[in-house]
Amino acid sequence: MTAAELSAALAGGEVSATEVTRAHLDRIGAVDDRVHAFLHVAADSAMAQAADVDRRRARGEPLGPLGGVPVAVKDVFTTIGMPTTCGSRILEGWHPPYDATITRRLKQAGAIIIGKTNMDEFAMGSSTENSAFGPSRNPWDLDKVPGGSSGGSAAAVAAYEAPLAIGTDTGGSIRQPAAVCGIVGTKPTYGGNSRYGVVAFASSLDTPGPLGRTVLDAALLHEAISGHDPCDSTSIDAPVPPVVAAAREADVSGMRIGVVTELSGEGYQPGVLSRFAEAVELLESLGAKVTEVSCPHFRYALPAYYLIAPSECSSNLARFDAMRYGLRTGDDGTRDAEEVMALTREAGFGAEVKRRIILGTYALSSGYYDAYYGKAQQVRTLIIRDFDAAFGQVDVLVSPSTPTTAFGIGERADDPMAMYLADLCTIPSDLAGNAAISVPCGLAPENGLPAGLQVMAPVLADDRLYRVAAAAEAAFTGRWGHPLLSEAKGLPEKGGTA
């Protein structure tokens, strides 16, 4: 059942929130020892929340479309009553005293927070292998990574452990795992969703967004969590784009679609490119006008990203110093505060986090700032101009979501550059702050693993993503005769309500 179908069943009284939650907890109990999508399963509070939703529905209180629908939340969002670790030892056991704005909005919408999902440490990575608590696995093939950093969220949705999940996208951390897990994931416009209570990796890039098994499901979650938040200065004070309506219309006739020249070619897996080409043809057959558009500065996006994101992270992660919360190492009475800070950070952070802190510290150093951080910001401006020029000609841009399908666990763990390339297609939209979505476009013939179609839209035109993605999804599903995910063979058949 999709979240939309669940929502209808709950509203019609065919099923209770308690039953739905119980079923998902059972599914988690049955498969999560293999998938490891969750760092924390909130069984008790989820059941209590479900009972409350059932009471409210019985009293006739109005509930939104997510009333009683379970949602898995990436462990980077603060949650009262649950730990928030960001996949890091340094925050192990930390119970935040406040809810993220998105956590609060989910609760207000009656969504059931079923647990906290695994992630690369502090959202740095593309495979969840950088989690201090072990990797999650791809439900299509348990030896493959589920992508990252929101890999736990993507795996939970693909494994039917939750109908919906929240992730964050800094360089592709929603779209890339969605693509390699064969589900839908959106990076909304930067500022469209509140970052308050999202433990920061790179403040100017971090964007919370939805993951779901269908485009409409993602749109329902998108709409429930979006909108202006006075607690986040970078939050945009504008109406939420009509994403649910757009997902329902699913009409691309007359739309101008641009294929980004620079996001294909060498380094891309042949099966990914062939599925992408089919998707473009499909959209054309649905009445879209397809042209090729060049964005010449996208080739500099990856290096610019790997200066900007580490720079911001080096500052954002400075607060983990053992003084107020989280891990404290070496405080045996013989060491001063500085030594305890150093020992704690040495013990508490993983290799990739340290690598980025060092990179960022270096890039921001006096004498290097202009050459690194300053230059990267100039590249960022050029990428924004590329997007502006492109959106002057077309309504949306498309590309593959990732250069390859899911890679094997351990395959790229020792090669940071290979790992970074997984975000090649997704990074430009993070740097520019515009909206983008990944929607499944079939299986790569060479390995039978899912490939994703990425659609990119201008700032605050998130509805266009859903219009295009929903049209593609409908046409593909019609062609395949079933949802793509039903071909996933990594796990036993789903059972019960899920």
Binding site: V76, F77, T78, T84, C86, L91, W94, P96, P97, Y98, A100, R195, Y196, G197, V198, V199, A200, A202, S203, S204, P230, C231, D232, S233, T234, S311, E312, S314, S315, A318, R319, F320, D321, M323, R324, Y325, D336, A337, E338, M341, T361, L364, S365, S366, Y369, Y373
Partner: protein, 498 residues
């Protein structure tokens, strides 16, 4: 601790020209903190005025306090600065346990106010001090290092941190280098901080209490060998917490640096700590091995762009500056610059102004505050403003004298009574029975007696030697228990003997 060799001040000035500069931090008196809604009351229970934002908890985000921006613009305008039409906050990165995020949100190369000046009265002259910049930042928490001798972190057994102060808006006012003041340099430094404090207080943006740390000055001093045309290396003296200390710190650094230079040494660019007890400075951390703060624009905040009409409104609503007020009062009261300086130095300016406002003549108000009241304050070891008498009470006493109800002698008794807590002037007059003898019969009888007892004096007056009337007046006053109006007695005697 080594004792520094010093060169006597006057001798140092013969060979070197001091250049000074001041960086003054003012805690703004906003109701809430710079980036969150916590209250800012001084002296509250430690860590009782904190929230996720000012504690820098993971996921929390800052939101700018608009009142703090307005207050800073007020200060900038009053200091004749240009107000930026667009500026940003920046992160200043360094690790310290009282810094919740291990970076301070401050302003770096884009301050809110730049390039102004303040005219400072020094010995009856005005010295124009250039203002480099006025910027806004957040205060840090307050550390208390327990155990150990120095009260600093090194050598302490343990440290306590109070985060109530963390996030209180702090304005930093930086002067341009002040050169050419010669031996007056210590006075100029003190007069500048005094004038700035008065200005900020008049603006109503801070209570500027140096003893509570809501105004703190760092003093930069360097020496230029006379005739060399080159400036020396400066030191930055911190912990200068009173006006007197500002003056002493400059004086000490001039004497110390002169000795270093005389011995062929080189002044080290460093932070120095001022010691109130000894009036000396000692070396802190060296700036030459100083940390790199890795400033970069704060990505969690949007730029601040104060609209021109708002700035114009703030300018129009500025209260009268203390310097303008002094000039106005000097003209209104018809005083010389030195008389005016004497009033200011005695701390009597506001008291006299309030006494005049309560109805006294400027001459009477000055006479009482600088005369009898200054004497009383001196005897009690109090500041004038701390005497338990109000300007309105002083005005009433002056009124009683002017109407002839009291003479000066009786007025002093009334003052004594008021200071002793016997009530208002009228109550003291009534309770002590202090009334000028105006009964003509009694006075004439006393005059007859006085003339009879002093025939020689009476004869001289009859001959036209008016100055000889003194002993006669004295005798009458004595006979009436000092309760007669001396001027009237004088006139009556002269009439009688003409």
């Amino acid at each position: 601790m080594t004792t520094d060799t010093l060169v006597p001040f006057a001798e140092a000035l013969e060979r070197y020209e001091p250049v000074i500069g001041l960086e003054t931090h003012v805690e703004l008196g906003t109701r809430t903190k710079m980036f969150c809604g916590c209250t800012t009351t001084f002296g509250a229970e430690p860590n009782s005025q904190v929230c996720p934002v000012c504690l820098g908890l993971p996921g929390s985000l800052p939101v700018v306090n608009g009142t703090a921006i307005e207050y800073t613009i007020r200060i900038g305008l009053a200091l004749n600065c240009t107000i930026a039409t667009w500026c940003r906050f920046a992160r200043k990165n360094y690790f310290y346990p009282d810094m919740p995020k291990n970076f301070q949100i401050s302003q770096y190369d884009e301050p809110l106010c730049i390039d102004g000046w303040l005219d400072v009265p020094v010995g009856g002259q005005l010295v124009r001090v250039g203002i480099e910049r006025v910027h806004l930042e957040e205060d840090t928490g307050k550390s208390l290092h327990v155990g150990g001798v120095t009260g600093r972190i090194h050598g302490a057994e343990y440290s306590l941190v109070d985060y109530n102060r963390a996030g209180i808006p702090l304005v930093e006012i930086v002067t341009k280098p002040i050169a050419g003041t010669g031996a007056a340099a210590p006075d100029v430094a003190r007069a500048y901080v005094t004038e700035l404090r008065g200005l900020v207080r008049a603006l109503g943006v801070s209570d500027v209490r140096m003893e509570e740390g809501s105004l703190r000055s760092d003093v930069n001093t360097s020496l230029s060998p006379r005739g060399s045309g080159r400036w020396g290396t400066r030191t930055e003296t911190k912990n200068v917490n009173s006006l007197r200390s500002v003056e002493r710190a400059v004086r000490f650094e001039i004497e110390r640096q002169a000795a270093v230079l005389d011995a062929g040494g080189r002044v080290i660019q460093e932070t120095r700590h001022f010691h109130e007890d000894s009036g000396t400075t000692t070396s802190g951390r060296s700036k030459e091995e100083a940390q790199d703060y890795r400033y970069f624009p704060e990505p969690d905040l949007v730029p601040v762009a104060p609209p021109a009409d708002w700035v114009a409104q703030i300018r129009a609503a500025l209260p009268e500056a203390p310097s303008a007020r002094r000039a106005r009062l000097q003209a209104e009261w018809d005083l010389s610059a030195l008389d005016m300086a004497a009033l200011s130095n005695a701390g009597a300016l506001d008291l006299v102004a309030e006494t005049v406002a309560a109805g006294a003549s400027p001459a009477d108000a000055r006479k009482w505050w600088l005369g009898e009241l200054a004497r009383q304050a001196n005897e009690m070891g109090l500041e004038l403003k701390d005497l338990s008498i109000t300007p309105a009470q002083v005005a009433r006493i002056a009124e009683l004298v002017a109407s002839g109800a009291l003479n000066d002698h009786l007025a002093r008794e009334v003052i004594e009574g008021v200071l002793a807590g016997e009530g208002d002037p009228d109550q003291v007059v009534a309770a002590r029975g202090l009334v000028v003898v105006s009964d003509e019969g009694a006075l004439n009888a006393a005059i007859d007696d006085a003339i009879a007892a002093n025939p020689e004096a009476a004869a001289k007056v009859r001959e036209g030697k008016v100055a000889a009337v003194g002993p006669l007046i004295g005798a009458v006053m004595k006979a009436t228990g000092n309760q007669a109006d001396a001027a009237r007695v004088r006139q009556l005697i002269l009439d009688r003997l003409s």
